[in-house]
């Protein structure tokens, strides 16, 4: 192998004339530690078994070569019998080569070169406390919204809360959120290229997408698909309102658990997921109105919004709502009055979904009558746990979306369906289902958008959610006859404390765990070939 690097040469005492003290353990072992531990990425031979061998003694050997050089003393560590040999060895240094006839025994371990190419934790990036806490707010938000949903269900189930008020308030909040979102999008859209038609045209011929997209994805997909990705990603935020509902209702029609796609072209019932090509539709499809398919309505509503959000994506450096929606037709020719049309169609599909749900509620009510409640509680617990664990918290505009993100939404909607089927009256069932769509389908999109929009909104939302969840749990656990608000406030305080403790504690724990990280890399690892002609594929 290569001669010892400079670092290791420096580890060997340079002045060979310095009398070396008689080698005892205290002088030999720390020598390696002193020299090698200077660079933590190098192990000395002792490291391999240090925890297990408390004693390792080198007696007062090397009496003959005791005043030789450091190198010689090291070699003397192995072979010290006759000084004539060690003198001979002064010229021949140990080399990590197999073809050379070494003058060392086969089990000789050269302290200078042994494990010199070992790398420990070369790619480890240390965590900082506050960024970690800040990142954990996303999880807290989601857990809190799940808790709020459960609290609302319990409230409705115990008939302490009127289902109408729950769904009324939540629908009002959703409407306000939609208005806010719409306002944001409208505000951002002039940042781009001015005329929406021009923008749409640019997107269509692909050059725009090349400009707006990170370059590395260009080779991976066809041009159309790129366009689609760019547009669908934004569209999901634009029109999740109707689409989420539509997909759910669509699924309910088919009477099986939701299969995630918030938005799905009607001609693809199997539904691709992610940024797949499931949205490769002919442009005309967007206008095809199929009464039976709610989804196609949704997609019709969505398609014109393609234009504006793609600028959003560009302007705020990839806000990418990375949502569960994926497929959307290729940008349809923008209608003359862009935003107003979008709003109108969104409202239209919302109303459609509303009535579809209303019609479905009686069916849902008796869906699981033959199943015992215990099974339903257990099932919904696991489904909500799946929702929490598989939720796509990244929210970033990376091409590597979590492949199981759809699982999360599906699980949540299924949980809400089975929970709703426990409720006695049609109105309650309807309220809970609509509420679940709002909480699990639309709210995450809004949260992600708010986070990218402004950090302040994000924090405010987090605090609100924590307070709401804490207060709700407090009220539910509190005595029914007493004054619920006192318990609610207590719950809020406790909720805030728990959230703060969990965020801080988990972050601190994770940082503390980093010291156990020990990735070992060395020449024995299979090399990663760098192949030019394949690079485009491999990166993706």
């Amino acid at each position: 192998m290569a001669p010892p690097s400079g670092l290791h040469q420096s580890a060997i005492p340079s002045d060979s004339e310095t009398p070396f003290p008689p080698l005892v353990r205290s002088s030999t072992v720390p020598a390696s530690i002193r020299s090698h531990r200077a660079d933590p990425s190098h192990l000395s031979p002792e490291d391999a078994y240090a925890p297990f061998s408390p004693t390792r003694r080198f007696g007062s050997f090397d009496s003959g070569g005791g005043n030789g050089s450091g190198t010689e003393s090291r070699s003397g560590r192995i072979r010290h019998k006759d000084t004539s040999r060690s003198r001979n060895r002064r010229r021949k240094r140990f080399q990590k080569l197999l073809w050379v006839k070494q003058s060392y025994p086969d089990n000789y371990t050269d302290q200078a070169t042994f494990l010199e190419n070992l790398q420990r934790n070369p790619r480890v990036r240390p965590y900082d406390f506050w960024p970690l806490v800040a990142d954990s707010t996303v999880i807290v938000q989601h857990v809190c919204s799940v808790i709020i949903f459960v609290v609302c269900f319990v409230g409705i189930f115990q008939e302490r809360v009127s289902p109408v008020s729950v769904v009324g308030w939540s629908s009002f909040a959703t409407f306000v959120g939609w208005l806010l979102w719409d306002w944001w999008v409208t505000k951002e859209s002039p940042v781009g290229l001015g005329d929406e038609d021009a923008r749409a045209r640019m997107i269509r011929d692909g050059r725009a997408s090349r400009e707006y997209r990170p370059p590395r994805r260009q080779d991976s997909l066809g041009l159309d698909q790129q366009m689609l990705n760019a547009s669908t990603v934004s569209i999901s935020s634009a029109s999740n309102f109707p689409s989420a509902a539509s997909s759910t209702s669509n699924l309910l029609l088919q009477d099986h658990p939701p299969t995630h796609q918030l938005q799905r072209p009607s001609h693809q019932p199997g539904g691709g997921s992610g940024t797949s090509n499931s949205g490769l539709l002919v442009p005309g499809h967007a206008h095809s109105r199929s009464v039976s398919s709610v989804a196609s309505q949704a997609s019709t509503a969505n398609s014109p919004t393609t234009t504006a959000p793609i600028i959003t994506r560009h302007g705020s450096d990839g806000p990418d709502h990375n949502s569960h929606a994926s497929s959307d037709p290729a940008p349809a020719p923008p209608p003359p009055n862009g935003r107003a049309y979008v709003r109108l169609s969104t409202i239209k599909s919302a109303i459609l979904i509303y009535f579809t749900l209303l019609g479905l509620s009686p069916i849902l009510k008796s869906l699981t009558r033959s199943t015992s409640s215990d099974s339903i509680w257990a099932m919904s617990f696991w489904l909500l746990a799946i929702n929490v664990f598989f939720f796509d918290y990244s929210g970033s505009s990376s091409s590597k979306r979590m492949p199981v993100a759809s699982l999360s939404t599906n699980a949540a909607l299924m949980a809400s369906t089975v929970l709703a089927s426990r409720l006695p009256s049609t109105g309650q069932v309807f309220s809970l289902t609509l509420f679940s769509i709002e909480v699990f389908g639309l709210f995450p999109v809004f949260r992600q958008h708010a986070r990218h929009r402004s950090w302040r909104y994000h924090v405010a939302l987090t605090v609100l959610l924590v307070l709401g969840a804490g207060g709700g749990v407090g009220m539910i656990l509190g005595d029914e006859r007493g004054w619920p608000w006192k318990k609610g406030v207590l719950g809020m305080v406790v909720g805030c404390l728990i959230a703060a403790l969990a965020m801080g504690g988990c972050s601190w724990w994770l940082i503390g765990l980093q010291k156990y990280k020990n990735e070992i890399y060395g020449p024995w690892d299979p090399a990663r070939p760098i192949i030019i002609s394949r690079r485009h594929w491999d990166d993706e």
């Binding site: 031979p45 391999a48 061998s53 073809w99 089990n107 042994f114 070992l118 020449p523 394949r534």
Partner: protein, 486 residues
Amino acid sequence: MAPTYNIAMVSDFFFPQPGGVESHIYQLSSKLRDRGHKVIIITHAYKGRTGVRYLTNGLKVYHVPFFVLYRSASFPTVFSFFPIFRNIVIRERINIVHGHASLSSLCHEAILHARTMGLRTVYTDHSLFGFADAASIFANKLLKFSLSDVDHVICVSHTCKENTVLRASLDPLMVSVIPNAVVAENFKPLDYNEPLPRSFAPHHPPPARPLGPHDMITIVVISRLFYNKGTDLLTAAIPRILQNHPHTRFIIAGDGPKAIDLEQMIEQNVLQDRVEMLGPIRHEEVRDVMVRGHIYLHPSLTEAFGTVIVEAASCGLYVVCTQVGGIPEVLPSHMTVFAKPEEDDLVAATGRAIAALRANKVRTELFHEQVKSMYSWTNVAMRTERVYNGISGAISEAEFYGYDAASGAGSWSATRGRSGVQSFALIDRLKRYYGCGIWAGKLFCLCVIVDYLIFLALELWFPRDKIDICPDWPRKERKVDGNDAG
């Protein structure tokens, strides 16, 4: 008079299966026999090959029958090998059990049982493992288990030694580096006075030496076409090399899942007349293919030793290889051109090699003699014998491990297997296993205790004196060699 030993080589991998480990075991065994030792080989039964067989040189092979079925599942068979193993060991009066290859469960079990029976054990590691993926973690834990109580470990290269020391938490002083070797007589360069081997088709003239400026340079690749052999690199590099150098051609031998990629590349670039794919070849034919070329290209991504590049150099080929694993240790720099495992660098390195050959700067005709003096199985056997001497106490501990035994004799070291000090007492062995991990340590201890109980039961049920001692094949006289440095 140096002592002679009865050695049992244990490995899942042996003839009739071809491969590097297999030939290593065979060559080492026959050279050890030449040095006066008795060697038997224990492997599992192959199809159509069961029972006891004798190979050339009186080498006795036990094909243990019941391992064919359970070969992949190693844990359930931890103890089931013990009765027949004990029988063989007692019949053959074995002193030293030598296991080969880290993926061989037979080898690990044999080491465990041998220690229980109070035999000395040696283990030879032929491969490199990473630390990241789940399979490696499992394999490494298993290795740690079986090597907790081994007397000595042999690795085929320094990189392999570092790897094994880290994987099994061994004391580096109990790991020796003894390389593989080649049978130089089987890899002679082309003798132009002899008739050409059959592999030369009439339209392929033998390689021209010395090279003129417009003579064809042939680059040979012999490798199984797998991902970890770097076939992707090869596929990417071949068109560029052929484009840069007009008078060159490739001969590729070997088969594997990546062969289809190569064929596709050939068709896409219309290189049918410049790249010849021979398909799978037998080990005996390797030399005949090698001597058709000037350059041997070895694009592997990981390699513990890389015997094939030594074989190529022995055939008088200039070697271009990737600088991975133990490969940089194997050949001197005047025989090799190293490349990083990158397409660009591989193309550049091949270009340098072609240029050096065209300039007639490389004395490839001398390679054979040089390789012959570097690597020989006799030397390997001699060095292995020193390991046997060391662990069985024939040479003193101080000489073997290189420091004063007197100071170490009073203390007990958990990891250091050492003649005279390493005791076979169950409690000492348990101490060694206990350090393997919080849970694993206890589990391993349990296994060892069960193993010991089985041993006691076997002693009761099948007493030693009821087992026949088999007559030895007449031993060879130990060859007297002056350079037995030990």
